[in-house]
Amino acid sequence: MRSLRMPAVSGFDEMIGPASEVRSHYAGYHDWLLRQDSRDLQRKRKEAELQFHRVGITFNVYGEDSGTERLIPFDTLPRMIPAREWALLERGAIQRVQALNLFLHDIYHDQKIIRDGRIPAEQVFGNAQYQPCMQDVDLPNQVYSQISGVDLIRDGEGTWYVLEDNLRTPSGVSYMIENRRMMMRLFPELFAQQTVAPVEHYPSLLLETLQHSAVHSHPTVVLLTPGRFNSAYFEHAFLAQQMGIELVEGADLFVKEGFVYMRTTAGPQRVDVIYRRIDDAFLDPLAFRSDSMLGVPGLLSVYREGKVVLANAVGTGVADDKSIYPYVPEMIRFYLDEEPILANVPTWQCRRDNELKHVLARLPELVVKEVHGAGGYGMLVGPAASEQEIEQFRQRLLAAPDNYIAQPTLSLSTCPIFVDEGIAPRHIDLRPFVLSGYDTRVVPGGLTRVAMKAGSLVVNSSQGGGTKDTWVLEDDPC
């Protein structure tokens, strides 16, 4: 490949600037790319696919035929972030997660933010994700969300925004680690050429975070999975293996005399910390959904007495709910007395009459989301929707305005991916993983998700999105 041809970019591209110039932090990579034979690159793409199949990194897709396992498309062109820019994102993500943890502690204790009139009481207590069983329960270090995924996007100008916070059971970190391993295997010369901040230590930081969340030292930590039919089962097995802890299902644990035990061949063993990848509703069939076969009967009673730690805590969903999202900047000011480093996407709350009117008048331009939805389901992307789809959504909105928020359609920045013709821009986002133990830390980078279809803004892996390795360049050439 002698020259680099890429279809025109309409918004902000991570690699190519507005005058078609290669951005300075991509200069080294670009030079390397020009020296490559396109057949070599093609071969490496095939090799990556083969390797991922062999390692077993697949993703179960709900709603398709049973047992459908799909490979998440992986693109070998890295998404790069200069050190200086990352420093800002890191501080912003940490600030945000600290405020969200303080918010959770507050609403489950004194509720100062509500008494101070910053957030309406009914927004919190009327929210199905507010768990009454957590009221006045004291948690070690007052940490609710030990593992948080903060989804970041950039608009057409390149400005960063937080799209949403994920404080329940954020997934995807295994792809961050595996993508890096794959890139190092395929292109070792690239890593010799420039300093890319490491991510491989994430499992040891995670284990440390989980251990720090326990009341006493040398705790027994386990990972609780819903089982192999869960879409993220690969990740559960991967993380447990990387951390050297037991991967357990609900039936492997039981509650007796006020503690949680794991069945082992050597008899019951007490469990101190459970990294649970099961939603609140399924954790304890005696307290939540009685039809849950995934949880541990009695778990909540032990948890409330402080005899076991759950990561993340029960009831974190009230803080990452889309109806609470508009209040996060206010939380940062209220708890930290700081201005938010990362901006929220402007959000209209359809439960407010005047905002609903505004939204209804501009449906074709907006993105409308279900307040409790996730995974890109139940949303309307106005500019991409047909007239009929917009009308259908209008009726749903009118029937239950409280269930929806709306945001302007942000174009999302693009980053080139390899396609058969060379390279082409595709929309991306970024999910850094924030760990909260004694202190709050972020592994440099995170998971970059890619909408593999040209023009598409949906990056969710459940809807055909792919991933890229994310490089935080340690020596900023700027």
């Binding site: 509720q111 009481a121 207590f125 009327g126 009221q135 039981f254 005696l286 307290a287 009685s290 009695g298």
Partner: protein
């Protein structure tokens, strides 16, 4: 009024149960309305005492040796004082009790029921609602089961105290009024009447007010409260999960008598 309570619940299984865990809400919490003079539980094994999110007293019973029956017995004496409203428990926001649950989700028919008599002012409107519910779904054991939702029971036009309470809760919440489920015991001179009982409390004027739809009373003079919650699932006296056991049969006997009366022995 001094009441003495005896309540025994016996589960029998067609096959061996390998392991079972129960949440028991069989111990009343003392309050100015109800003074607990004595209370004893007789369980197959020692249970862990805890509390749940609604501040109910909870016992967690784990049986991890194979068993074919579980017998739970309680007895006690309490003194009920005649007071109009409950103490405001300020720990949990009453707004929590505005949310619908699977058992109290209103359908069209329940929304229509809730919307009746809009001209009536608030306490009167709720009393009218309570009357209407009992008229339209008379007390009839066996027509519903513990898993019936408010919408199902109302559609069937029959029910027991649990169904009356769920329908009432669904309507109150549809009207934007926080309302909660109460499970407990009821004293009745008519010994045929069920002693294990459920009723509702509605949050108005900064306190909880009783609405016993089944007995058409707002004065909980004969009511001993065991537990509160969003619905039956939160407040029920026994909730368990078992591994194995086959078919379950249940026998429950609850008797509430006035202490000092001739039949209290």
């Amino acid at each position: 009024m001094k009441l003495s309570i005896r309540h025994s619940t016996e589960y029998r299984y067609s096959e061996l149960v390998q392991h079972s865990t129960q949440y028991l809400r069989l111990t009343p919490r003392p309050s100015p309305r109800q003074q607990i003079l004595s209370w004893e539980m007789d369980l197959p094994e020692q249970a862990e005492r805890a509390s749940d999110g609604y501040n109910n007293i909870l016992h967690v019973l784990t049986l991890d040796r194979p068993h074919q029956e579980i017998r739970l017995a309680v007895k006690g004496q309490v003194e009920i004082t005649d007071e109009d409203s409950e103490d405001a428990d300020q720990r949990l926001s009453p707004l929590v009790f505005s949310r619908f649950t699977a058992l109290t989700q209103p359908d069209e028919a329940l929304l229509e029921l809730a919307g009746r008599q809009p001209q009536l002012a608030m306490p009167a409107r709720l009393e009218r609602l309570s009357e209407t519910i009992l008229e339209e779904m008379p007390f009839s054991p066996g027509a519903t089961d513990v898993a019936s939702s408010a919408a199902q029971a109302y559609r069937g036009g029959k029910g027991v105290c649990q169904d009356h309470t769920h329908v009432f809760l669904a309507c109150c919440r549809a009207l934007g009024m926080p309302a909660r489920y109460v499970s407990g015991y009821l004293y009745s001179q008519d010994s045929e009447h069920v002693a294990s009982h459920a009723w509702a409390e509605v949050w108005r004027d900064d306190s909880w007010h009783t609405y016993d739809v089944t007995n058409q009373t707002c004065r909980p003079r004969h009511h001993l409260k065991l537990a509160v919650g969003l619905d039956y699932m939160d407040a029920c006296p026994v909730r368990g999960v078992r591994f194995g056991g086959g078919v379950e049969s249940l026998q429950a006997v609850a008797r509430v008598r006035q202490s000092g009366s001739p039949d209290s022995q």
